[in-house]
């Protein structure tokens, strides 16, 4: 039984019987109830350790896969980062290789790359071009979409979702056009 509740049944019984001696003092009895508070003196180190222990109990962000897949895996925002780092990563890798080419005896001049690329079968050429053109198209189109967001337009939830799906279609069409029809 909880300490503060001790005696409440008795008090209630008394309150149910008017004109007894105790009812006059009832207010005073309940007002003087005390609550036991236990305090503890902690050293500086103990207090620090306690706080550190308590911080470990704080809630942590849940795992990504509890969220709706449509938002986490097909959101334009993270694919902007994927496509951007793929394109820029490719540029950085090519740049480093181009600089190291004379030392390693590689031929990365535009003429030799074009010649090597031209010798590939059509399907491989198209596939490689699409692998470059689709991320470029996606990044460019979504980049414009995000710049429009940054100006404060198109932020209604329905608009964001709708333009997100248009983006996939438009980037596929634009990527295919750049890869196969140029």
């Amino acid at each position: 039984m909880i300490a503060q509740r001790v005696g409440t049944t008795a008090l209630r019984r008394v309150a149910g019987q008017p004109k007894t001696f105790f009812t006059a003092n009832l207010a005073r009895i309940s007002a003087t109830q005390t609550r036991q508070v236990a305090t503890q003196k902690l050293t500086h180190d103990d207090a620090t350790n306690l706080l550190a222990q308590q911080r470990l109990q704080r809630p942590v962000s849940p795992h990504l896969d509890i969220y709706d897949k449509k938002q986490t895996w097909f959101g334009g925002s993270i694919w902007q980062r994927f496509t951007g780092s793929a394109l820029s990563g490719g540029l950085y890798a090519f740049g480093a290789a181009y600089l190291a080419a004379p030392l390693l005896g590689w031929h990365l001049e535009s003429a030799s790359i074009a010649a090597a690329f031209g010798a590939l079968p059509f399907a491989v050429k198209g596939g490689l071009k699409f692998a470059l053109a689709w991320p470029f198209a996606f990044h460019a189109l979504n980049g414009v979409r995000h710049l429009v967001f940054d100006l404060g337009y198109g932020f209604a939830k329905r608009t964001v979702i709708k333009t997100g799906w248009y983006l996939w279609g438009a980037s596929a069409v634009a990527g295919s056009y750049l890869a196969f029809f140029l």
């Binding site: 350790n49 222990q53 780092s85 820029s88 740049g95 480093a96 600089l99 535009s110 980049g143």
Partner: protein, 173 residues
């Protein structure tokens, strides 16, 4: 009945935990009591590392000094660079003519855009407070890589045919 079961669960959880004696005070008890009601498994993406208290326990979380050149000016510059890439990319292909200066400007803008993009990724995923050494290594690694690629683009622009023309030649090969 329910309270009996809960207290038994609580006792079990308390003895199983690695808490020191003073940590099994109300805050911890409440967390354990709440944990008994959770039905889904806990899968933490980033479980907290051992905690360290800087200063005294009553110090508030430090607020970094404001700096527009690392904040709003940087953000605006990022957007201006990104926006300027649209005409810079379209112009040489639409006009059909090639201007070496325009090509150099395109290369420089792409380099800045890539550098700040990679920087954003590093800042987002390698927190300074949690992993200060990795943060430093990646930041300076990126700086070095950008210098190397800048040098390579300079070489490519001055000794080869330039970026736009090279893409055109490979694309139509």
């Amino acid at each position: 009945m329910a309270s009996i079961a809960r207290s038994a669960l609580l006792k079990q959880a308390t003895t199983a935990s690695r808490m020191s004696s003073f940590a099994t005070k109300p805050v911890v008890n409440n967390a354990l009591r709440a944990a008994a009601f959770h039905t889904t498994s806990r899968r933490d993406l980033l479980p907290p590392l051992p905690q360290r208290v800087d200063g005294t326990i009553n110090d508030p979380a430090p607020v970094p000094p404001t700096s527009p050149s690392h904040g709003s000016y940087h953000w605006t510059m990022d957007r201006l660079v990104a926006a300027s890439l649209i005409p810079l990319t379209i112009t040489p292909f639409a006009a059909g003519s090639l201007n070496p200066t325009l090509d150099a400007v395109l290369c420089a803008t792409i380099l800045i855009h890539s550098h700040t993009g990679f920087q954003n990724i590093i800042v987002d995923y390698i927190p300074k407070k949690r992993t200060p050494r990795a943060r430093k290594i990646f930041t300076w690694g990126l700086n070095a890589a950008t210098v190397v690629v800048g040098l390579a683009l300079y070489e490519f622009e001055t000794t080869d045919v330039g970026l736009t023309e090279a893409v055109k030649r490979v694309w139509t090969a």
